[in-house]
Point group: C2
Chain length 584, copies 2
């Protein structure tokens, strides 16, 4: 037996007990007459003591030779600590060591195994197994495990069956790029890794499983942006015989449960907002509603004056920044520069200081009088002491720019408190999205999403106006889940494929099995999928999903620890009926 | 709302309630004055009634038009059934229908959706979504979900953390063939899909996670035998600071828990047997101990007589078949033919009838007297009325052949009762296995398995004799789990790679990250992995793992429902820097 207790559990009630512990050397402190060693494992840290009065000199010498991260096993007696450490649970005791053996030595780690480490991101990724020893990473992984257990518990108790769907499936040209897997036994053919189990969960509904879920890895071969992984985990769910309302209720229930169990926060009914309203009020289809600063549209009161910038704009829209009236000229100039950065892209910014005395001072005083500006303040909800920032131009672009400013100012003002949780349903998404480059429409959610009742006709005349039975669950400005009521009628699905530019042959080749299935009694159904990596990081009050993934990949899709991907040998390629096509 | 009750929950206490149900039409029975429709969902079947007295003629006509597997929604009143059906939980009531709507029609299914179907395997695989509607398949999937929930519950309660390890890893030439995934962003390079998360779970132990588990898909590109899938699911576990005994205790606990919770069976301490003993007593490293028929080695009593077949044999070994003394000459000849089939491969079989009167009649009476045969009976444990079957030849081959006969006879005698559970630990496996073709040794378990203490030296002199800290958990003649205590010392791991024929460069290229990790304080660790598909099928009292997989692949690794794998387009290949190399 390597241990009979772990390094986090000994207390004053254990005093005089003989114990055996195993763990890592966190620290050795040698004061001459006495040597302390902190021993660490997943559960905590316990102080070991060696002193000249009570410990053999051989053992003391052994203790002094221990290096950081050595793996040791000790046996000793629990004693009361002279100088107690109230900061750790084992702080009232220490173990007077009788026997010590080194189970494994350690080279000096490339970075310190402390809560605050001196290791940079790259080094920590290469030695991820050492990074995981650090409490912040270790605790995140334990947190993730806890969240998934709670998700499974809730869904099981609510009648959902976890069904494993296959990983080796078929590539579809629609949507993001697939990772593919060459088949050795089927020459010239490939499997694809699933971007989601979408069609399989729909087939499970056709199969009468009624309520399905799965916590499942999904794969997308996309150019990686910061904090996006080629493999990611989804909580994938589907229900039969449901309308949108049933889904919203079911998964609002799950989310409330998690917030309660994990974060100890009780939230009443989640607010709902349509996609159109979200864009109008927040410039964003995943608004962060932990704070206000809602958009005020100023066209009616700011146009038709002498100010041509506004007169020629599609949209004039502003937000009120709390307390911003005290900004100096320099600070405001910096703000103007900020919105003009290429990442935001505004041409300029008009501002209005709402002075405490009720007067206004703006950058466009030449064109607008106090009465005009009072209207702006009313529309943007600005109070004395606030600063109104106004952008103008094309509606969509301007909203996106002002949304960026709103988020930035909330960040600066500390309004994005990670311990506060503001969920929101965004509903009535457009069914189709115009691809500006090709002029074609493609599915905003996916090709299986149903339009709102009675809107099929609009598909012919005004495809962009068709609204879908599609919804997103937004938490603190992040889309944590999204789903839709699906099409369950073969003819409607065929029509949809046609509108998405599939020929009947293409539709049959790719999704024939699904349309076949719809001929044999497909029930109405719908579902949702949550991005687990994101959900866990938000519930954990952090920003970076990578911190909640045991072995993440870097922005080039590489695992720098194991050095993958890597070349494979000629024999493997030959068996797979492939040759490399590399520019030399 | 599509329903306010499901089709399995209405009882007499619901009589007079108005209810809305949705589901599939199981059956329509029309008796002229009254029409019954059975409506089915995941939860059960409810009888709907339409009769001339109480139902509008329009509604009756509608009901008569319903086809099998139509999806319908009805509203009606729960009434007492005239002729009750005690076989189903809803059998005391029926619903008098007031409103009926067809949610979706159905073509006639290609096979009947009944517990006993007329559909062949191929057809049921192509229309798997219809097969899943059948109770036996549906219940298996629900059963699987339940088993995995219980596994997670037990392991979580015992301090194991579920950690997701990556699916896009690196190919290793060792062991079975990898499925590989070409990288678009890293030209000419490939990820591999994991055959198991072995190295990652070991790194998690180096990382101090202490107790890890994961229910995870694994992939092997092997030529498929019956009932083997290219993707399969493992319950993967690892613990730090453990010896073999700790692992056996921990996972005996899990297995007992499952047998109790799932099957209602309590089993005391699991027996243990060494690999050598298992081979000697059962001719098999995964013996089915639900029944006896242990091997009796007869060399000492059967050799050195006049019978040259035995004299020239390495091993003479027999089993006693209960009640076999009554077999006719024809039946015994058939048995001899059975052991001579190429699948078994014995050259012949000697038999001894143990007559009820205590006398013996054998096929080798010319060479052995009654006293000799009495010794055979004693050694094989044969009782009056039994038949002793004796095979001889090379030891390994003969044991394998006799094991096949033992299993076959147990099957014929009904001794392999799927409701009985006989778990067994097989321990002390050989570390290495001789590859007869190449004359090289390779790791029997995997290259990370540690030899038993003090046996490293034997590696030089007698590699085949080295025993490992490796163990299998066997249930009813199936290996349901296997694992080992791992090497955690860099030098020992290097030595092991050397003995397995890796050059230092190859070892570094493939497993450098692991050996690096072992330099930074790797704790002693070990683990186990259970084959979930097999475990679930055995607990479910069935033979075929395919019946417990929602969407299995066929023996050519194809998903015949979605028709995968499939060709991909030229553009995709080009992006992946590949061209096909196909013989035309």
């Amino acid at each position: 037996m390597y241990r009979d207790h772990n390094c986090g559990e000994l207390r004053e009630s254990d005093i005089d007990t003989s114990v055996t512990l195993s763990g890592w050397v966190q620290k050795v402190r040698d004061k001459g007459f006495v040597t302390w060693v902190d021993i660490r494992d997943r559960y905590g840290i316990t102080q070991l003591v060696f002193d000249e009065d009570r410990t053999s000199s051989k053992l003391i010498a052994q203790a002094r030779d221990l290096g950081r991260e050595y793996v040791i096993q000790i046996t000793g007696t629990v004693i009361e600590r002279a100088s107690k450490n109230p900061k750790i649970p084992t702080g009232n005791i220490e173990v007077l060591v009788k026997e010590l053996s080194v189970l494994n030595e350690s080279k000096t780690p490339p970075f310190t195994i402390e809560n605050e480490t001196d290791g940079g991101e790259d080094l920590r990724m290469k030695y991820r197994y050492l990074d995981i020893r650090r409490n912040p990473v270790k605790n995140n992984l334990i947190f993730r495990s806890k969240v998934t257990m709670e998700v499974r518990k809730y869904l099981s108790e609510h009648g959902f069956i976890e069904v494993e769907t296959p990983y080796l499936i078929k590539s579809t040209p629609e949507g993001a790029r697939d990772f593919v897997v060459p088949s050795r036994m089927n020459e010239g053919q490939f499997y694809a890794l699933p971007q989601s189990p979408q069609t399989f969960k729909q087939l499970l509904m056709v199969g009468g499983m009624d309520k399905y879920f799965q916590i499942v890895k999904c794969f997308r071969d996309e150019d990686l942006r910061a904090d996006r992984q080629p493999e990611f985990t989804q909580i994938d769910c589907e229900m039969a015989f449901v309308e949108q309302e049933d889904i919203l209720i079911a998964f609002e229930g799950l989310t409330k449960y998690l917030l309660k169990e994990i974060n100890g926060i009780e939230i009443d009914t989640f607010p709902r907002i349509t996609f159109d309203q979200a864009m109008k009020r927040f410039g964003n289809d995943k608004p962060d509603i932990r704070f206000g600063m809602e958009f005020g549209e100023l066209n009616a009161v700011a146009q038709h004056k002498e100010f041509n910038v506004f007169n020629s704009a599609d949209l004039v829209v502003g937000i009120a920044i709390p307390g911003g009236a005290t900004y100096t000229r320099k600070e405001i100039d910096a703000l103007v520069d900020w919105v003009r950065r290429p990442q935001v892209g505004a041409k300029g910014m008009v501002y209005v200081k709402c002075n405490e005395d009720g007067s206004f001072k703006s950058s466009v005083d030449k064109f607008y009088d106090q009465e005009d500006l009072a209207q702006w303040a009313e529309i943007t909800g600005a109070k004395p002491g606030d600063l109104i920032c106004v952008l103008s131009g094309d509606a969509n672009t301007t909203r996106t720019q002002l949304s960026a400013l709103r988020m930035e100012m909330a960040q600066r003002l500390g309004l994005r408190n990670p311990k506060e949780f503001a969920p929101l349903w965004v509903i009535d998404f457009p069914l189709l999205e115009l691809d500006e480059e090709t002029g074609n429409y493609h599915a905003m959610h996916h090709p299986f999403t149903s339009p709102k009742p009675g809107q099929m006709e609009l598909l012919e005349t005004d495809p962009g106006a068709v609204r879908a039975n599609a919804y997103d669950l937004v938490l603190n400005g992040n889309e944590i889940g999204g789903g839709s009521i699906r099409i369950h009628d073969k003819d409607m699905q065929s029509t949809m494929f046609k509108h998405l530019g599939f020929t009947p042959e293409e539709a049959k080749a790719q999704f024939g099995f699904l349309m076949d299935a719809f001929q044999y009694g497909a029930p109405p159904h719908g579902g949702i999928a949550f991005g687990l990596d994101r959900l866990v990081s938000i519930l954990g009050g952090q920003e970076t999903i990578r911190d909640f993934i045991a072995f993440p990949k870097n922005n080039s899709g590489r695992d720098v620890m194991i050095d993958a991907p890597a070349p494979i040998d000629e024999g493997q390629l030959k068996e797979l009926h492939l040759v490399l096509d590399i520019k030399s």
